[in-house]
């Protein structure tokens, strides 16, 4: 099932959105123009994975010789710091570790989507600044509706 997440122009690089698609909470990320979607539930103990910090790989040649490599595509669960690759959902902490469900994300024309799509319900998340200061958002968000016909949409397949 295709679920529309956002208008493309409302989802610039560096942003993330956490949406409700049916019963699932899913984080959608625009990392340097490339979209990824991952289940917002850490398989370790159920933490809200998608509000976690994004980082690139840290590659060590040896002690003290570390380079950061690639775009920030690893999300760290805020509860215990376990990290997952946004593209595959794979935890790389070693063999036998759990994998998070990752989803395909595409950008599609509105007309091409047809009638058989659902619209994701966006969930409020902390802004980067609020996260940094440790502040929680308030419980109320006004209900808003916007309708677009022609533009490109970010669509998540669940």
């Amino acid at each position: 099932v295709k679920v529309v997440v956002s208008r493309l122009e409302d989802f610039p690089p560096g942003e993330r959105k956490i949406v409700k698609a049916g019963p699932r909470s899913i984080g959608v990320f625009n990392v340097e123009g490339e979209f990824f979607a991952i289940r917002n539930r850490c398989p370790h103990q159920g933490g809200p994975l998608c509000i976690g910090r994004l980082s690139p790989w840290a590659i060590a040649e040896g002690p003290g010789k570390v380079t950061m490599n690639g775009p920030p595509r690893l999300v760290a669960c805020p509860w215990h710091g376990w990290e997952y690759d946004l593209e595959t959902g794979q935890s790389f902490m070693g063999p036998g570790e759990t994998r998070v469900r990752a989803y395909d994300v595409t950008v599609e024309r509105g007309q091409a989507l047809g009638e058989d799509v659902r619209h994701a319900e966006e969930q409020p998340i902390l802004s980067a600044a609020a996260r940094a200061s440790g502040r929680e958002p308030g419980p109320y968000v006004a209900e808003t509706f916007r309708v677009y016909v022609e533009e490109d949409y970010v669509v998540v397949e669940v």
């Binding site: 980082s55 840290a58 590659i59 060590a60 040649e61 040896g62 002690p63 003290g64 010789k65 570390v66 215990h80 710091g81 376990w82 990290e83 902490m93 070693g94």
Partner: protein, 343 residues
């Protein structure tokens, strides 16, 4: 249940010590002989307090004094440990000279007299390049099986200042052996010097835990993939919870140590071993077997720790294990771990 005997065992920790500093004088240069005389240096007793239940009699000071124990235990190989270096002195030049003297005394007094004997190569931590040079000097001797350091060090052993010594150890194919107790000037706890021997004695396990983590976290095994470390007299029953915690925390904070590419416990299991004496074990043999199963019998090496006495846990350990595990602990693990050095 098999009652395994320690005969024909590989004994990884058998103590010897010169009775007095005079013993070492023939192995020291003229300047150091006069330095010892001027400073009225005396040999510290390696184990204290004298006469305490855990101390036992003095270690053998000569081969002849060692013979009764060797006849009774009939080891396949025994690795001598001389802790005389673990003093309070701060003179790195003196410490290096004494280390060389102790090694030469070990060769002359013991290694030349009995082919079953090997020795722990003594070095000082006060001058690491000198320690590396001493390892290089004796690497070709073939009768040194490990490099002896006190588990209680001035700086944790993962620190880069020690790396030249680890490079020499890897070149020589010798493990680093960390023995309980150590540098007299260093506190046995992270919060200060203990008031009693009782606390000091019980502190060796947590110092060993700190050193174990330091080696892995500072990437010693990334820089020296062939290096091995053995903990002498520091216990092992503490390993299961400590390794669990070590692995768990690494998953969350690995970015601080990205050179630790495998679970920390995998480095420990591949590179580190632990001697059996003393063992802190439950009374029930079934529970002893469970502890060993959690630790992994392949990590354990038999040691008599003669003449020190820590109770009967070492015997109870072997008695609680199946034949295969007891055999591995008595001989097989050590022969595999030390390799050529015990051949």
């Amino acid at each position: 249940m098999t009652v395994a005997t320690a005969t024909e065992a590989v004994d990884c920790d058998l103590h010897v010590a010169p009775a007095a500093v005079d013993t070492l004088l023939p192995h020291l240069g003229e300047y150091w002989r006069s330095y010892i005389d001027d400073a009225t240096i005396r040999m510290a007793a390696a184990a204290y307090p004298q006469g305490a239940g855990t101390t036992g009699p003095a270690p053998a000071a000569t081969y002849d004094e060692l013979v009764p124990f060797l006849q009774a235990s009939n080891p396949r190989r025994a690795i001598l440990s001389c802790l005389t270096m673990d003093g309070v002195h701060r003179n790195p030049h003196y410490a290096a000279a004494v280390a060389t003297a102790v090694n030469d005394w070990l060769r002359e007094e013991f290694l030349a007299r009995d082919e079953r004997l090997r020795a722990s190569l003594v070095v000082s931590t006060l001058d690491i390049p000198a320690a590396a040079a001493e390892v290089d000097r004796l690497a070709g001797d073939g009768r040194f099986a490990q490099i002896l350091l006190p588990v209680r060090s001035d700086v944790p052993y993962g620190n880069r200042l020690y790396h030249p010594l680890y490079a020499a150890a890897q070149r020589a194919g010798l493990p680093i052996a960390l023995h309980a107790f150590g540098r007299g000037g260093a506190a046995p706890t992270t919060t200060g010097v203990t008031t009693t021997y009782f606390e000091d004695y019980a502190s060796n396990a947590h110092i060993a835990q700190t050193q174990m983590m330091s080696f892995v976290a500072e990437g010693v095994f990334s820089d020296f993939p062939e290096l091995r470390v053995v903990f002498l007299e520091c216990g092992f029953a503490w390993l299961p919870p400590q390794l669990w915690r070590f692995d768990k925390d690494w998953k969350g904070v690995w970015r601080e140590v990205p050179w630790v590419k495998e679970r920390p416990s995998q480095y420990v299991r591949r590179h580190m071993r632990f001697t059996t004496e003393p063992a802190q074990l439950p009374a029930d043999p079934e529970q002893i077997a469970q502890v060993v199963a959690m630790v992994g019998p392949e990590l354990l090496l038999y040691a008599s720790d003669h003449p020190h006495r820590h109770g009967d846990a070492g015997e109870r350990l072997l008695a609680a294990l199946g034949e295969e595990d007891a055999e591995a602990i008595l001989r097989g693990n050590a022969l595999a771990f030390y390799g050529e050095a015990l051949a």
